[in-house]
């Protein structure tokens, strides 16, 4: 029975580090099950607690790396549910990040330019 206890020790260590690091506090009191845990349809809920802590530190690290100032990071993470943290941790690098209005105009210009060049439209030439 070496394996299970090893796992247990590892889990405890991870949890201890994660909890002291982040120091998050849920609004619901101890002993009360949050509604979130009931709504949530997790296939691997058995690993959920440990996974949540890992997600939390992962998202925190990525946010800091992406230039969010330290003061905002904790506040932003606190607003996220466990499943939201999980999806962020997985796809923060490549999830759609809305914000490219300038590039949008660029694309439109590019398309117009191509259409102009091949002669479909005629808006850039002098009358």
């Amino acid at each position: 029975m070496i394996k299970p206890s090893k796992w247990r020790a590892a889990a405890v260590a991870v949890l201890a580090v994660a909890i002291t690091n982040v120091g998050f506090l849920n609004a619901a009191q101890a002993g009360i099950v949050a509604t979130n845990a009931i709504v949530r349809t997790d296939r691997d809920a058995n690993m959920a607690t440990i996974r949540d802590q890992l997600d939390r530190s992962e998202v925190k690290a990525q946010m800091e790396k992406m230039g969010v100032d330290a003061a905002s990071v904790d506040q932003r993470i606190a607003a996220l549910s466990d499943s939201e943290l999980h999806s962020l941790a997985k796809q923060m690098q490549d999830a759609p990040a809305g914000g490219d209005a300038i590039a949008v105009i660029g694309v439109v210009f590019l398309v117009l330019l191509i259409l102009e060049l091949v002669g479909i439209i005629d808006i850039f030439k002098k009358a």
């Binding site: 002993g31 009360i32 949530r40 230039g67 969010v68 932003r76 939201e84 759609p96 990040a97 191509i114």
Partner: protein, 320 residues
């Protein structure tokens, strides 16, 4: 008229249409005479890559929360991605006592929200499949006869888009959109699962009375839904209204007797009321073998608290 140049241009035009995922023919918007525009919706011309914060400030302003795009930038903008992610867009209103609710992926759902007086924040993709360009904008109106939508977008206060062009950019963004709700408001054509998930995600950050209002609206809309009762019960518990909490947890268990979370919380509530024996009886009724580890920990924690409790007088009327 068989210029090679003209032929080439036709081929190119065809390619552009295919790449843009041209929509099926026929009316896109449900036929009707409705013309709606929420002209009071604030407008924040955005700076550089700030369409996420600006769009959020716009819908929050429409929900009577005065925030600036600069404040929202602190909550959603990711400098490293030069944009804002959908998950954070949905989460950010919670800090302003508002719930983000993801609308259903249909144009009819957007117009229904507008009919109810709520602007809809949408994600658009104006790029190409291999080169996506993501952009947030806020739909503030529509014109059925003309099949047009009105948006606050970037630096344009009243951007008019044909329904066809709107749908093209929206389709390419997997038809993602959201509204913000004041606690107690239901979206138009509310979807039960979406709403309850939104409310449950709102709960940890919300004041008890706000969480209560959010779940109370759900209880009214779906009286037979156990999760709505549990949510309202937990809000009452947090507000230390234990009698109301117990009533809601019991109602949830009437609907679904196997709801371990509701029974655990009922036990905690009874304990708070001084009904130690009754609390233990509820906890003993939970089939521990069916629980995942997280719920098992919660139940074990509740048992520890019950074991450590002094026997107090259970007030008359605490039990149903």
């Amino acid at each position: 008229m068989t210029h090679p140049r003209r032929a080439a241009s036709l081929v190119l035009a065809a390619c552009v249409l295919v790449l843009c995922g041209c929509a099926a023919r026929g009316p896109i918007m449900e036929p009707g005479s409705a013309i709606v525009e929420l002209a009071d919706t604030p407008f924040y011309p955005q700076e550089a890559h700030q369409c996420g914060p600006a769009a959020l400030a716009t819908v929050l302003g429409a929900s009577h929360v005065a925030v600036t795009p600069e404040e929202m930038e602190q909550r959603v903008y990711l400098p490293g991605r030069r944009g804002s992610l959908q998950v954070e867009m949905l989460a950010a209103p919670r800090a302003s006592a508002r719930m983000g609710y993801q609308v259903q992926p249909e144009l009819a759902d957007i117009t229904a929200q507008l009919d109810a007086g709520r602007p809809v924040l949408v994600l658009h993709n104006y790029g190409l499949p291999f080169w996506p360009r993501w952009h947030y904008a806020v739909v503030v109106g529509y014109d059925s006869p003309k099949e047009q939508l009105v948006l606050r977008s970037g630096k344009v206060q009243r951007q008019i888009l044909s329904a066809r062009n709107f749908m093209r950019a929206w389709d390419n963004a997997d038809r993602w959109g959201m509204v913000v709700l004041k606690p107690g408001e239901l979206p138009a054509a509310a979807d039960k699962e979406r709403y309850l998930e939104a409310a449950a995600n709102f709960e940890p950050a919300a004041k008890p009375q706000d969480a209560w209002a959010a779940f109370d609206a759900a209880v009214r809309q779906w009286p037979d839904e156990a999760v709505a009762r549990v949510g309202r019960g937990t809000a009452s518990y947090r507000a230390m209204d234990y009698r109301a909490a117990a009533a809601d947890y019991r109602a949830a268990l009437q609907i679904d007797a196997t709801q371990a979370g509701a029974r655990n919380n009922l036990a905690m509530t009874l304990l708070e009321m001084g009904c130690v024996g009754e609390a233990r009886r509820e906890l003993d009724a939970i089939d521990a073998s069916s629980l995942d580890s997280r719920m098992r920990d919660e139940v074990a924690d509740t048992r520890k608290q019950i074991d450590g409790a002094h026997r107090e007088a259970c007030p008359a009327g605490a039990m149903p």
